[in-house]
Amino acid sequence: MTSANPQANPNDETPVEATGRCPIVLLLAFSLAWLLVSGTLAFIAGVQAHTPAFMAGCPILTYGHTRALQDTAFTYGWIANCGLALVTWILGRLGGHPLRAANWMGVGALFWNIAVAAGMVGIATGSATALTSLQIPGHIQPLMLAAYASIAVAGVLAWCGRSRPSLYAAQWYGVALLFLFPWIFSVAQVMLVWAPVHGVLQAIVEGWYAQSLWTLWMAPIALAGAYYVVPRVTGRVIPGYDLALLGFWSLIFIGGWTGGRHLIGGPVPAWIPTIAIVASVLLLPHYIIVLLNLGGAFTRNPADREGGRSLAFISFGLAAYVLGGAVDSVTGIRSVAAAIQFTWFDEAQRQLAVYGGVTMMLFGTLYYALPRLAGRAWASASLARGHLILSCIGIVLLVVGTAGAGIVQGSDLSTAGVSFAAIATDVHPWLSVGSVAHATLLLGNILLAINFAMTVGCGRLRAAAEALSS
């Protein structure tokens, strides 16, 4: 439908696509498969949250298991695969040479996904670790580390062999996240799984890991994509580019300190949550700088429809990312924390950040990247538009519904007389909105997967036909 659109069939193929197309598209295909798995599990968990009897008889899909499975499929399936694919592609393009070690990347992609699938089986059958963001059983984690290293080789080589010595913002974030994940992941493994630290220190390390995974890995994935795509689509230099460096280093230096927010009032030394609260306020300039640099995403050129779609996703993601940062620093305040700690509000914040922020920016980058990787425009503009609309509606419903449930639950919990059965009744309508939102998001992602399969698959079919006829 859009194949006639001249904007949509970009001829700017670089040497990267010639060598890197296969492993990058493979990673993207895996990521979309995991996105659908995660969406289905999110829907099941969403229904279980307000109707506990739903699938309760199934030992592998108890509420705890569905939540852990969903989180694993989302983080290590969707974000890892899609993020690594797009970051490698960006580093390759900015490096200016054909992608090296593409076969390493392909092998790593296979093993990474085997490991995630094995981890899912492990969680479902009761070998989960019960650690936030690290539920995958301990014996599978080393395989993930090795597979990650194998995937990352291509991006690192592209960065080392770059033709221009100076680095762009997309490269700072891209290279940093390639190195930071193995470091934090291996530290968490050693200190929590192989030689666990003593008592409540486990909770402190767990908080540090979960927060570092967010600030030092997921957020840079999204920002690397946004810093690459926004100036290219708008055709303008990034405003306030000098500040971008400050924004980068403040995220990397301060981000890891904000993990103790969830331990406010807990059995840990009081300085840990205190430092976390201070750090989340100190992180505010980072969000302001990102908004200043990438604010161009909010203005679009109506003639460029494909680029406009990327920017629509990225601008939504950017707004959610900045809002999430602001909410993080407000909820650190002790009186606010006392009211909403341990409630659904926490989940709402997380969804705002990882779905509204990171995933939407990844979608935007994906919509920009795939036509260049596949050598042809997206197969259907209406499917893409449907995906955008459903995603926006779904995220707003999800965040509002879950946050509403959190506020109701928080006020009920603070009144000692309200029983848990009464709380469950009170949050029921809000959580129902949440499960409608999960269904909406899943539907949107099915549209994306169909569109992806049509784009990549049709390209393959046409190439085969041309090869036969020549």
């Binding site: 509420y63 298991h65 989960a128 009032g265 059995p267 848990f420």
Partner: protein
């Protein structure tokens, strides 16, 4: 910024900075926290778990109970934890020193369990917990797969659940907890933090100048 090695050194330093600060800092403070010896009782606290309770903690982890239940009581002026009778004092780091996998939890869709067996005036007993696991209640799902429905051969099992109403099994049958259910309940009944450590006595709230 052009210098690649310097850039790498920078991100490594940034990571080490937060790791050293948070992880090493707290480890220096709490890493060697010992049990507290009470000369009056000639006992040291916290008490170690019995073996079956340690097994039960694994069941608690396998089922990811921590998705809905916390194990941390906050101090009296912070939320309604004490008012709800979950404990008479806040949880302190020493409560957890013998736990192989600490599960503080981050979500309270269900009540806190830190001091389940030490609650006053009345703590649940094994039969209450078994019935709760079998039947579910309010927002809590039933965990039927932790139980078996068997024919009564000879005498009814001593462990059989006393069920009423629609839950009652067919005549001639009984509902018996599996080994996992017994371990889990033994673990839940071992959760008791009634002992008052010197550091857990709450500071008097009426004097704001006292830290």
């Amino acid at each position: 910024m052009k210098n690649g090695p310097l850039f790498l050194l920078g991100i490594l330093a940034a990571l080490l900075f937060s790791w050293a600060g948070i992880v090493l800092g707290s480890n220096a403070q709490l890493g060697a926290l010992p049990a507290y010896y009470d000369a009056n009782d000639s006992l040291s606290y916290p008490r170690r778990q019995p073996g079956i309770a340690a097994e039960g903690q694994i069941v608690y982890r396998e089922l990811l109970c921590s998705s809905c239940h916390t194990q941390q009581v906050r101090r009296p002026d912070f939320g309604s934890d004490v008012a709800r009778g979950w404990g008479e004092r806040q949880s302190v780091a020493r409560d957890y020193i013998y736990q192989a996998a600490v599960q503080l939890g981050a979500s309270r869709n269900g009540p806190d369990l830190t001091n389940l067996a030490g609650r006053k005036p009345s703590a649940p007993d094994a039969a209450d917990l078994m019935n709760l696991l079998y039947a579910g209640q309010g927002g809590m799902p039933a965990y039927r797969f932790l139980f078996e429905t068997r024919r009564i051969v000879g005498q009814e099992s001593a462990a059989a659940l006393r069920l009423t109403g629609s839950l009652r099994p067919r005549p001639g049958c009984q509902v018996v907890p599996t080994r996992r259910a017994q371990e889990l309940v033994a673990y839940l009944l071992s959760l008791n933090t009634t002992y008052d450590y010197p550091e857990s006595k709450p500071a008097p709230a009426q004097n704001p100048e006292q830290k």
